[in-house]
Symmetry: C2
Subunit: 491 residues, 2 copies
């Protein structure tokens, strides 16, 4: 039974768009570029938030909340920062509406014009560093290890559900430190947290690396990132962690007295992941039947569907299922029993496949007679009949197996789609024909990077951490190169 999403091989972009809508994850709203995250989609995001929040707290961070609005003058204080964000921001200019006097309905009250315009935060470095100025006097006030869960707005011209929207949800960590060493260690620690989350929970293997100057966060000294590979061979930046040096401390005059009594500028970091991760999760694992969710992030890990022809059979199935439900709950497994009588089992099966529920249990009259159940796994679509005895433990093991299998499958895909190019001709051929990650020598200049982007649309995704240094020649310029970097077309 088809629930009407296009095949990946026919139109990957349409497949993604329809899957997001049909699986009840999100939809476009009446407001240009802003999405509605529907309850099922939001429940996956909540799982992500729960895990990440725990990881942030375990690494010593606390949550706080800063204003949605940023005075225009704040944005301008860090030169690179305003350059990066001024072009795409929502500007509040007035604070009141009124009834128009000429019958034109409700209008903006021209008398309620703000003296200084407010920007809806595209990111919060400026307003936060302006606050930190008052929080820091002595080295004893450091480090500040704060995270914020918030909505942000960047005025995007071309938007796509989850991947690029005008408003999105995210977390932004903002830390302040007494030393460069400590701030750099924090930057790297948070990159590791993101990589661990991506691999262990999202089941997506990621490359850890450093961005080139072109791709760096506006205002950062160094941007670290994790890069994932989607099934269409395009890369997706899944998280970034920025070493800010003393740039924002300088811009907002954040100084402290060190142990020796000298006054110094504070060192900073910022790091974030967003609802974009939802896009990565969907595109990395799902198939033509719908979502494939890693069990650790699935709001419903197991669905039980009874098969019955009459009320008596339904009643026996209810009793039979409630025993299984209780056993699963005891193991901390989230389970849904769907005994609605207005939908056929086949429709339910297809719907839960579309929604990516990792394990489906079917209970028919014969199962009850034989004291068995039929279990189907979403990732491989394998089905088998197993005994009722020990069913909860068997499902628990299966969930672990699915989590691991999804990761391994994505890893295999990435390995098969990571290629080396020795010449620019080879490079262009790969980028055109198969996409994927391409390792190639680069001369280290922004000029070459920009030319390659113009000609092929591929960008340098990152310079991998602990990259092997090896002499070579740049595929584009023929100049000396000290290392290969990772190119790809990207979302």
């Amino acid at each position: 039974m088809s629930l009407g999403i296009p095949k990946r091989s026919e139109d990957y972009a349409a497949w993604y768009q329809e899957l997001v809508k049909k699986a009840d994850l999100a939809e476009n709203s009446a407001v240009r570029g802003c999405m509605v995250i529907k309850p099922y989609g939001y429940s996956i995001w909540e799982k992500m938030v729960e895990v990440l929040d725990k990881m942030f707290k375990e690494t010593g961070h606390s949550n706080a909340y800063f204003p949605l609005f940023i005075p225009k003058s704040f944005l301008s204080k860090e030169a690179d920062h305003v350059e990066g964000f001024a072009k795409e921001c929502a500007v509040v200019t007035h604070y009141r509406l009124k009834n128009g006097e000429n019958g034109e309905g409700i209008i903006v009250d021209p008398e309620a014009k703000l003296e200084e315009e407010l920007i809806v935060r595209p990111t919060s470095e400026t307003v936060i560093w302006n606050t930190y100025k008052n929080w820091v006097q002595s080295y004893r006030d450091l480090p500040i290890l704060v995270n914020q869960w918030a909505n942000v707005v960047r005025w995007e011209m071309r938007t796509r559900l989850f991947l690029r929207t005008t408003e999105f949800l995210w977390q932004e960590g903002h830390t302040a430190h007494a030393t460069q060493v400590e701030a750099e260690a924090e930057t790297k620690q948070m990159l590791e947290v993101y990589a661990k989350f991506a691999e262990d929970f999202m089941a997506i293997p990621v490359l850890k690396g450093v961005k080139t100057a072109n791709e760096r966060f506006a205002g950062a000294v160094e941007t670290y990132c994790i890069e994932a590979l989607m099934q269409d061979g395009k890369a997706l930046q899944a998280g970034t962690s920025h070493f800010l040096g003393q740039n924002f401390a300088k811009a907002f005059d954040v100084k402290f007295t060190n142990k020796e009594g000298k006054i110094e500028l504070v060192w900073g970091t910022s790091w974030g992941v967003s609802t974009r991760l939802m896009g990565a999760l969907i595109m990395a694992h799902s198939d033509d039947e719908g979502l494939v969710l890693p069990p650790l992030l699935a709001p419903i890990q197991v669905v039980i569907v009874p098969i019955f022809n009459n009320e008596e059979q339904l009643n026996s199935a209810n009793t039979y299922a409630s025993n299984i439900v209780n056993q699963l709950k005891k193991l901390g497994i989230s389970v849904k029993y769907d005994n609605r009588d207005n939908l056929k089992p086949g429709f339910k099966f297809a719907d839960y496949e579309l929604k990516g529920v990792p394990v489906r249990v079917a209970i028919g009259p014969r199962d009850i007679q034989n004291q068995t159940v039929e279990i189907a796994r979403r990732d491989t679509k394998e089905k088998k009949v197993i005994p009722l005895e020990g069913v909860a433990e068997a499902i628990q093991n299966l969930l672990n197996e699915i989590q691991e299998n999804i990761f391994q499958k994505a890893l295999k895909f990435r390995t098969e789609n990571t290629r080396e190019a020795k010449t620019y001709t080879e490079f262009k051929k790969i980028i055109e024909e198969t996409e994927g990650f391409v390792l190639a020598h680069w001369d280290g200049t922004s000029e070459t990077e920009k030319k390659i982007k113009e000609e092929t649309k591929a960008t340098i995704r990152c310079i991998p951490l602990n990259n092997t240094l090896e002499e070579g020649v740049c595929i584009y310029s023929g100049k000396k190169s000290i290392q290969k970097v990772v190119f790809a077309k990207a979302y």
Copy 2:
């Protein structure tokens, strides 16, 4: 030791303001009317969110997320609604900044003017009902039981940390139903959830009632509320639940086919509580030494402070304390061990009193020798020495006792500050001299209500649920009245 907050009896408003700042709960930001919620304050809010979110889910609701921006035309669709919110909203008119050509720095790009202005949501009924239109066709699509955790903006002229800020955090439930009966039941159910949360977790007794037409939510048919009494005798509306009738369904054309195949308008509710609850929590219980937190919402329930004169004593205290810490953690009690050596115990005691930690445990050399600890409770400031044996259970019992005692204390205060007025002279005397809740007969007209408000600043807080009907005469107009209602000055 004083940490420098004014006394309540001297200046209640200054006491509140200073307490919020000194206890690290929140501070004013550089953006007019917007606050920064600091990590300690935010951790209390997180506790509230955790409990409420669980209660919402237990009553069948799911979370979702809707856009921050509302097209201006949406606000106008429900006549009362726009009347209520147009006067206090932030308006986005442009989507880009640029470098000014005359050296004036960054300016709003006049070419990036929006065709239709966007309002930063003051509440989300309009954008949500516009979405529901596409979610509902048949009675099978109902009810929709959705909640959103979000930030909202109302342009307030006079702001006060937590109590009234331009931006605040809240949750807003928005449900859609097939019948009036079901929607009314939902409205009342959520009022009960709020009342339970206020009383059982915040330890604040609340009156449940209905608002008069004057005080009703803009767009609602009926507004239910919970009203709490603060220590200065002023009332605080702590939560509202609105029966919307078919008003928003009408405005946004949300219809469904009922079981009989007929097309009907959908019935709606909305309900919300906000960071204003933080203000209520602080003002209901705290004293001149600082915050008093109910244990169920305290981020740190127990603090252990060692008393030592040398490293050897510190080491023994560390060992002694770690045993207690482990026992408390096993019982699910959150505990902090503060063995910083640069601060005196007296300073720590005062600081944790300021921060409202319910139980303090002190460990001195003599305690270790005698196998005892000294415990101090924040609410009554009583101290006693108890044996180490069974200390965790004793603290657990004490936490329960404190939770109950704080509630009883607030209830006693409310009882003592609820008075009846038989005449307008009596009424004015009470409102001027003692404030508190005043029960008085009212003729049921908006005119009388407005006059009383003009003359005394007191408003009708609510008509209590299941109010006793009894004939009488209105204290103001002398006209016939069928019941007494609750008046007070309010935040």
